[in-house]
């Protein structure tokens, strides 16, 4: 289990693979865009030309991609992981995908003698870089146990949630909570500012009481210093909320709050802020109110 194939070197995958390298693992990387692989090659990674090639030298293949279609393509497409799969290989997907996709991948890989874990993460770029992600894992318990050393290199916690799909279910519910909390912070911060309250003082007050949240702590100060660089891009949050909304529909469950929050993220993307951090949703309110979160009138 010392040879890891890592596929997908985006905002999250890059620091995750980097942490595996630093911990002494033998890492082979594949990324559609070559430049990112080159960066990791300087840190000692092998570079594969195809997903299949990343599998050949590896005991475990890790994928960290942006959407269900990309994961399907990398695993079952031309020169995909499955074409080089062999009995005993382990595939771990940390992408945020639909639980249906996770269960489908698990079934099809099982037919090839490959164990699969859906292992999406809580945390964004800073946590990925610091190696303190939280993994939510679904799949065979023995495989989960065997992979603990890998999880602990990239994360502070790995929770075993149940059989395949359970990781993705947990992740979508977790992101639903986070996204709604983000809007809780945004709407109330703008209400305070528009009332003439100092925004920094407002964030300090709420931090000490029952209204506190991780989102207010992380994204509040980011908004106030006008730093919209993506730790978690608004277009990706929108994608996740779309998955969560479809999950709710599959569960025959009304989700009124999630739905309106998703529309606000859709508004954010529609206004051209898709590549900015999800906290750029505040700009929609600022546009409506002709004021910034610092209380300055917009020119």
């Amino acid at each position: 289990m010392n040879r890891i194939g890592f596929i997908g070197l985006g905002t999250m995958g890059m620091p995750m693979a980097g942490n595996l390298l630093k911990a002494g693992y033998d890492v082979t990387v594949y990324n559609r865009t070559r430049e990112k692989s080159a960066q990791l090659a300087e840190q000692g990674a092998q570079v594969a030309e195809t997903p299949a090639e990343a599998v050949r030298n590896s005991d475990v293949v890790w994928t960290m991609l942006t959407a269900d279609a990309a994961v399907h393509e990398v695993i079952f497409g031309d020169n995909g992981v499955a074409t080089a799969a062999r009995r005993g290989l382990i595939v771990i997907d940390s992408s945020t995908v639909s639980p249906t996709t996770s269960k489908d991948l698990a079934e099809r890989l099982e037919e090839l003698g490959v164990d699969f874990l859906d292992a999406p993460v809580a945390g964004s770029k800073p946590q990925a870089t610091a190696g303190v992600l939280t993994f939510m894992v679904g799949g065979p318990k023995a495989t989960f146990d065997a992979c603990q050393p890998l999880f602990s290199v990239m994360g502070k916690n790995a929770y075993y949630m149940g059989e395949n799909g359970a990781g993705s279910y947990t992740k979508l519910a977790n992101n639903t909570m986070g996204a709604i909390n983000l809007l809780a912070m945004t709407e109330s911060l703008m209400m305070a500012v528009k009332s003439g309250i100092d925004p920094e003082l407002f964030l300090q007050v709420v931090a000490g009481g029952g209204a506190r949240s991780g989102m207010a702590e992380n994204r509040g100060p980011k908004v106030l210093r006008r730093d919209f660089q993506a730790n978690f891009a608004s277009r990706l949050m929108l994608k996740d909320l779309g998955l969560a909304q479809r999950l709710a529909a599959d569960l025959n469950m009304p989700v009124p709050v999630l739905s309106v929050v998703k529309e606000m993220l859709q508004t954010t993307v529609s206004q051209g802020y898709g590549d900015e951090d999800a906290c750029a949703v505040v700009k929609c309110y600022e546009g409506w109110l002709k004021v910034t979160a610092q209380g300055h009138s917009q020119t």
Copy 2:
């Protein structure tokens, strides 16, 4: 400043007045229902027959009531605070009311030579009992400074937010954040449960990541042990969200997320859970889904 009149001995007022007594203040209490005053009399409080009587022996009069109309009545009604007011008296209102009410009270009391602070609190019954509330205060800065010893008996923090009304503005924005966070927890918890995820494990997972919130920490376990005793009654959260929504309208500000969350609290009250804790909103989802937050099917 050692003689305090305390008016309103509800869920919050009772422990707040109790803490003033324990700290050695000379407290005269008034409550519409006499039995509650009797409880505090056993702890050494004087009992007044009218609000005016509570004023006569006091340097500071504190009000903790449930709505704008009750505050107006207690201060400006028959035998109200104003009828016994004298130059130098300080009136502090910790009720959650509209900022317009706070500003109006301040103006009318100023004409009588009385200083007024709007000083609503973050925290519910447990924090009131432990004396660790957070006060958000609007009014004359010198009066705020003079009252610091009183705030520190009942709270861990008192923030000076600005002139009269600023305390109430902050409080409504704070409660908006808290209420939306409560629904974030509720909707995502039910999504996880309906997906077959263990609810206790789910709360543990989210507590360690960016989706964490005070509401998930405080109300999540309360929901799981089916404890709906009110720390903060759903009818009072509904009332506060109504005030927040009217504030937003006054500010000419769209609040799509607050609005849908308010409807969920309205649903909670309509279903007969108005006197239960606001976390009883989960029962609306449970009714829709025919499942409880523990994952058991409802009979």
